[in-house]
Each structure stands twice: as structure tokens, then as C-alpha cells.
Subunit: 203 residues, 2 copies
């Protein structure tokens, strides 16, 4: 017999856990990770804390699972589109990244902060998400690769600068979402995409 | 009667406090901020903990003062040289920055980590140091300014991208000091200096 989240929908255990995680990610959009508690989830989901402990061993496990899901969402929504010129496709991934940061600002910045601050669980998930985003630049089929569009080989110096470009995008997008000043979204996307060839050694 | 640090040199109280801070900064080069204790300072300086509490109210105050000094050192050693072309002077500041990170790796990365992780004291000092480094790009006399050398106005979008470039430099330099792979120091400096015009809108 399946117990239901919010009492309305019958679901499998995996489905219910997933639904709770989605709620956790939504809660994270307006709260930092440190503010996310089992009590809050129980209240928002309309279920008992006891039920939640069936799915998550403890608060740390719950937060880790929520961050894992948030990172997977980020990787998924920014997946490159299949068609188009490499730099155009890069700009579209950046567009999706900006939307993600806009829609999940508190949760995303608390992940960045937690990872940078030395929380090992968060750092691991964060590094994995960032690696997934930047590795696409290297790992796509050769005919589609941004690198090949720029006539660049895959060398340590290129990897190092792509890592730097990724840091720059993170800082610029977070600053811009916090306060866009007079900078339009289109201007932002154009600058970030153009910055990749701009920071790489000449091809 | 002046008591002496290490018993060898007679100094003013300000001089002694400064000497203790210098020792603190040296200790930070191989230790993270969290590992820096009053006991460690007392042992290294060869003085009593009681004397140290004459200069620093508590451990937090001591760590804050050491970070303050480390940030001031960073700002000082990377001060632009007075003569030369703007981009050449930028490259020389970057060179000093790389040396600073090499020589103070543990302390510097623990400052970055602490600031990013939400320690408000550290964040304030860190932001101030970073602002001092990037503001130079905007605030030097017009004839010397990198911006003018690039024919760029001081606009919100330029400020946003300079902030991003600064994040990129931090990430790239920390990664490179941790593991240079096959990238030479000269190659690194050339790339970082060239990346500033590379990320800015066309002049």
C-alpha cells in the first residue's frame, strides 16, 4: 500500500522520494542550504517528519540529496542543443545557465558558497556539475566541438583557461542576477560567449 | 620597559604587534586559517600566551588581524609599477600576484575559502583586497590607465567583466600553483594579461 505525499497522489516510493526532492529544490530557490530543514519539508509537503526519515537518514543526507538533484537539474537544463554552430550552441547553453541561476538564486549561491567554504559533500557535487558543464567543450563529437570551431587543440593550457572562463561566468552571472545595472541579458550572453575565445590562446 | 618578542630585540608595542602579525602571516603560508592558534603563535614567537592576549583580544581578533595584514601585503606587493605601457604594467602586477599566491598558498586559499564560505569578517577583507586590485584598472591617472590603452570607457558592463576577469585570474592562478601541468609561468602571465582585453567588449 503506498502512502502518499500531500495525500492526493498515489506514487511508488521512488516517485515520492523524487517528489520530495523537487520540493526541496524549490524551497532552495528562496532559502540557503543552511536554512533547509526536515521540519520545513514536512510542513510544505503536508506529511509527517517520521515519513521523511523513511526517505532521508538525517538532515545532512536530505540536504546532500537536494543539492545532488539541483546539480543534476543544472546539468540537464544546460545540455547543449543538438543543432547549430558551436558558438551559437554555447550561447544557448549560457542562456539556460543564466535562467537557472535566476530561478534558483538562493539555492545556487548557497551551493557555490558551501562548496567554496570547504563543505566536502557540496564541493564534490559542485565540482562534478561544473566539470560536466565545461567538459562538454572538450568531449563533444569533433565535428560539433567549440574547440574545433576555434581551431584549438585540447591541451593543459586550454583546459586551465576554460576552467578560468567557467569561474568568470559564475561570478559575472551571479553579480548580474543580483544587480543587472544597465546590462541587458543579451549583452551579457554575447559577452560571456565571446569571452571564451577571448581568454584562450590564439588558435 | 619594553618586553621583547623572542627576547632578542627591544621594540615599541606597535612594532611588537606588527612583528607578531608578520609571524602570523608566515605561519599562514603553510597552514589554513582554521589551524592558526594563539598557542602556535606563542610557541613560534617564544613568548607567553598571556603576552599575546595583551595584543589580541581573542583568537578571532588575532586571525582577523593576520588576514588584514595578509591582504595589505597582497595589495602592496601587487601595486603597479610607475613606468611602462599599461598592459606591460598589468602583466607585472599579475606576476607579483602569482608570486604572492605561491609564497602564501595555504593562507591565501584559506582566505578565499573563508570569504566565499560566508565568514563576514573574512569576506569584507577579501572583497576590499580584490576591489583594490581591480579598481586600479579604473582609478589610475587617465594617461596610465589600462582602460584607455584599450580605448574603453568606464561603464557598468566593463566593471562587470573586469570583476569576472579577476575571478578568472584567481581560479587560474590557484589551479596553476596547485598543479602547473605543462604550463610555464610566462605562458600563464601572458594569457592572463591578454584575457583582460579578451573578455571586454570591443573598444
Amino acid at each position: 500500500m503506498s502512502q502518499t505525499v500531500s495525500g492526493r497522489v498515489r506514487m511508488t516510493p521512488d516517485g515520492r522520494r523524487e517528489q520530495l526532492l523537487e520540493l526541496g529544490v524549490r524551497l532552495l530557490s528562496t532559502r540557503s542550504l543552511d536554512d533547509l530543514t526536515i521540519e520545513m519539508l514536512a510542513e510544505e509537503a503536508g506529511v509527517s517528519r517520521g515519513l521523511l526519515y523513511h526517505y532521508f537518514a538525517n538532515l545532512k543526507d536530505f540536504r546532500r540529496a537536494v543539492v545532488r538533484k539541483a546539480a543534476d537539474d543544472l546539468i540537464r537544463v544546460t545540455a547543449p542543443v543538438q543543432h547549430g554552430e558551436p558558438l551559437e550552441r554555447l550561447a544557448r547553453s549560457l542562456d539556460a545557465y543564466v535562467s537557472y541561476v535566476e530561478e534558483n538564486f538562493e539555492g545556487y549561491t548557497s551551493l557555490v558558497r558551501g562548496a567554496a567554504g570547504g563543505n566536502e559533500d557540496l564541493r564534490e557535487i559542485y565540482e562534478e556539475a561544473r566539470a560536466a558543464l565545461t567538459d562538454r567543450i572538450f568531449e563533444e563529437a569533433e565535428s560539433d566541438r567549440v574547440l574545433d570551431a576555434l581551431s584549438l587543440p585540447d591541451t593543459p593550457v586550454v583546459r586551465l583557461m576554460v576552467r578560468g572562463w567557467s569561474s568568470m561566468c559564475e561570478e559575472v552571472v551571479i553579480s548580474w542576477v543580483r544587480d543587472p545595472h544597465d546590462v541587458s541579458r543579451e549583452e551579457l550572453l554575447t559577452l560571456l560567449a565571446a569571452a571564451l575565445p577571448g581568454v584562450l590562446p590564439a588558435g
